[in-house]
């Protein structure tokens, strides 16, 4: 598992926003993943996505890494933000926009 964790740490360290999801940003393979992609696109922020369906080790590894049992998982500056429900709730309350602003990531949509 430690190699997988290293890969995850490396991805989180080299990108401000990382989304572990099912499918890709053009064709999400799950409604929960699609929701988070849609929110990130609405905010016009750049993000790296990792399609866990392409890599079983990452799929299980990311769950163990954060001790969170489901996909998608959103990370900002290496920090776990939440799964679909939390991200959606934060977006609706304007908290996600605040968090991104706090982390120095500009969004094109003001909350």
């Amino acid at each position: 598992m430690s190699e997988v964790f290293d890969k995850i740490r490396n991805d989180l360290a080299s990108h401000d926003i990382v989304l572990y999801m099912k499918g890709n940003d053009k064709f999400p393979m799950c409604g929960f993943s699609a929701t988070v992609v849609q929110i990130l696109k609405t905010l016009k922020v750049e993000f790296k996505f990792v399609d866990v369906l392409q890599d079983m080790e990452i799929r299980e590894g990311i769950k163990a890494f954060t001790n969170w049992p489901t996909i998608p998982q959103l990370y900002v500056k290496g920090e776990f933000v939440g799964g679909c429900d939390i991200v959606r709730e934060m977006y609706q309350m304007g908290e996600l926009q605040d968090l991104l602003a706090e982390k120095g990531i500009s969004t094109s949509v003001s909350s």
Binding site: K63, N67, W68, P69, T70, G83
Partner: protein, 78 residues
């Protein structure tokens, strides 16, 4: 093998005896649920902590037997 709405409720009430639980069967297939759990146990916890408490209550079934549960947690006064 999916989990029924009643089983889901039993797990939640075991962990959160005071909870008001509202479960919707999103797709009518007994497999895609949206649950709102209102409990004083969530006081002072972050959303991530609150959701983790629910996952713990589901004793490892979240993401396995329960693969599509949309979750909202709140405290009674919200």
């Amino acid at each position: 093998m999916a989990m029924s709405q009643d089983q889901l409720k039993i797990y939640l009430l075991k962990a959160f005896p005071d909870a008001v639980i509202d479960i919707k069967d999103l797709a009518g297939d007994n497999d895609h649920f949206a649950a709102t759990v209102t409990s004083s146990a969530f006081h002072g916890k972050s959303r991530i902590q609150q959701h983790k408490m629910v996952f713990d209550a589901l004793e490892g079934h979240m993401g396995t037997r329960l693969h599509a549960l949309s979750l909202k947690t709140q405290t009674p006064k919200e």
